[in-house]
Symmetry: C2
Subunit: 345 residues, 2 copies
DNA sequence: TATTGGCACTCTTATACTATAAGTGCTAAT
DNA sequence: ATTAGCACTTATAGTATAAGAGTGCCAATA
């Protein structure tokens, strides 16, 4: 005979209590505690029955016979998706966040956001640099260095400045370079770096005959300047050391591979990249990320925008056993504040 | 009756063997092993007597009664200063070092050096950025951003590019800014950033009446551009995660404070700063550094130069129990190669 | 039929005891 | 001055034991 309903209202409520309890205590939760914790007035024995069901469903799991239960990844997932009661942000924290992000000088906003994320959560904070494709060319300048070496300076709409040294095929005078800058600025300013790159390539192919030598030189240089790989994706990470305090990360092997992932950056970037597609808070719990190094970690992210376009994500990295009900709204708000800070500049 | 000579040739030789053995094995060294290890043909009992003397002198130390002996900081110090037989660098490694540093693009040399230091030693590598005071102004450019906001770009002799946004007291046209750049370049190029800062301040006080408005504007902007704190000292650290493999750093508390020191940077910078004064290899062993976080670590450094001036230091951070006889020449050579790489640019 | 008390069972954790091995310090002999 | 010998100390590993926590299941209950 099949049980009628493994997952009813009551079992969900118990799952919720169990996870909340586990998050706050860090100890496997037994039927006794749960019986006292909830106001369902159920005996431990009844609760044991329910817990057995929840275990069958793969939502919780027992480390060994005589221990209580611990949430599995699926358990956390269900909890986060449907059971969670988010706690609004402490208004004091909000004030501090707002004040710090707004008063903070210019492109430091990214660094500040990262620092705030880690300080206020006591976990690791991460913010990606704005996506290159979604950043607009504001101004370009060519400066002579030596014979055929030219320093290219690109100013974007976020008032970040990038520079790169290119080698030209022939020497240029300062005046010629000035002319070239003027031409590129008049021609391409206001478009995204990605589209400038495409436009330059297209113009080189199609409009060769219509351009004079000066324009041709300018476009050639622009092609070098905007070549792929000139700027790698990157992120700003803060408070990694906070992670060393958590017992679930006290295994040196695990910790080492986690920190290696942080310094190699690519897996973290890939993960964060996935979060740019969603337009709200996105969460990876434990193994969900697909990266072994993040087995024991959860990642809570939210995208931030410039001119209503998503240009990056920020988030918090901590142990799977984190206070989601506080972290989720916090990350959400921080993303909005960072967007605001970047837009008023 | 006083013993004639606690520290004679023989005891030094034994100390040397003991430390070498401890460095290679990581286990406390007992009298038996030492007796077999050396060709002195001494019985364990004799060696025990000598070891007791060495312990009295504070050069070695016994973790507990039934363990062998382990070098103390003073022991390591004596070893490094007078007993060490340095091993010349493997010629294959030298080739790789040389090739990688030389072919590597431009200001990446610093990053590459750091990476090489960590990869070839399997410990952490660190390289300070060239000291600002010893970096020469090559070219300055002012670009208009908005009304009173001006982007300043400074190119130095190492072809590093720094940029900063300043707020001017009144709006300037692009042409005026161009003029200002020209003036500053003609006036101050070729001098160190530090001396430019001083000169600008002095000129503002002394030569006010002799300057026209354009010059005054230019110098005013330069003053903002070169204001203190515009560029912090900094360093590039690589391979920190290598340190997580060492048993002497497996205490999470210790490890955490070490990594916190790495990200706060100031204590590391202070330490590295001290090494700039010496003009050869400099070593801090364990507590010698004066920073608790570095208790269990040694730091081997050497300064590097540009145009025969010391502008920075590089080094290796690892456990006190490291193969000094290999690390010391390696750091030395790397510093020389980095200097060479920076000078040929 | 859902809930519950009771109870045997499992597994972890802590403690104590034991034996073993490593290495010392000291003394007396060489 | 060196060494053999020996008593002594301490870490480490293994084993036994007891206590405690929590479970699963069965039979009683409402």
């Amino acid at each position: 005979m099949v049980k009628r309903q493994l997952l009813n209202e009551r079992s969900l409520q118990l799952l919720k209590s169990l996870i909340e309890r586990y998050i706050s205590d860090g100890q496997p939760v037994g039927s006794r505690v749960l019986s006292k914790d909830t106001d369902l007035n159920l005996s431990p024995a009844t609760i044991r029955n329910v817990m057995a069901d929840l275990e069958d469903l793969g939502l919780i799991h027992s480390p060994h016979t005589s221990a209580g239960r611990v949430p599995t990844v699926s358990g956390y997932r269900l909890f986060v998706d449907t059971l969670l009661t988010v706690k609004p942000l402490d208004s004091q924290e909000l004030t501090r966040l707002h004040a710090t992000l707004m008063t903070d000088g210019n492109h430091n906003a990214i660094n500040t956001a990262s620092r705030l994320l880690s300080e206020l959560t006591q976990m690791a904070g991460v913010v990606t640099l704005p996506k290159r494709e979604l950043v607009f060319l504001r101004h370009i300048e060519f400066l002579p260095l030596s014979n055929t070496r030219v320093l290219v300076i690109v100013v974007t709409n976020e008032q970040e400045v990038h520079n790169k040294i290119i080698n030209t095929s022939k020497p240029f005078s300062a005046a010629e370079l000035q002319q070239a800058s003027n031409f590129i600025n008049s021609q391409y300013a206001g478009r995204s770096l990605g589209s400038v790159r495409e436009a330059v390539l297209k113009d080189l192919q199609d409009d060769r005959e219509r351009m004079n030598q000066g324009m041709l030189d300018a476009v050639n240089m622009a092609q070098l300047a905007f070549a792929e790989n000139s700027e790698q994706d990157d992120y700003v990470l803060s408070g990694e050391t906070n992670l060393m305090g958590f017992s679930e990360l006290s295994n040196m092997e695990k910790l080492k591979s986690l920190f290696e992932a942080f310094s190699q950056k690519q897996s973290v970037l890939h993960l964060l990249d996935q979060c740019m597609k969603a337009d709200g808070v996105q969460i990876f719990i434990g193994e969900e990320s697909g990266y072994k190094a993040f087995d024991q970690c959860s990642l809570v992210t939210a995208p931030y925008t410039v001119s209503d376009e998503i240009v990056g994500v920020l988030g918090v990295i901590g142990p799977t056993r984190m206070a989601y009900e506080k972290i989720i709204p916090f990350v959400d708000v921080t993303a909005k504040l960072l967007s605001a800070a970047l837009n008023t500049k």
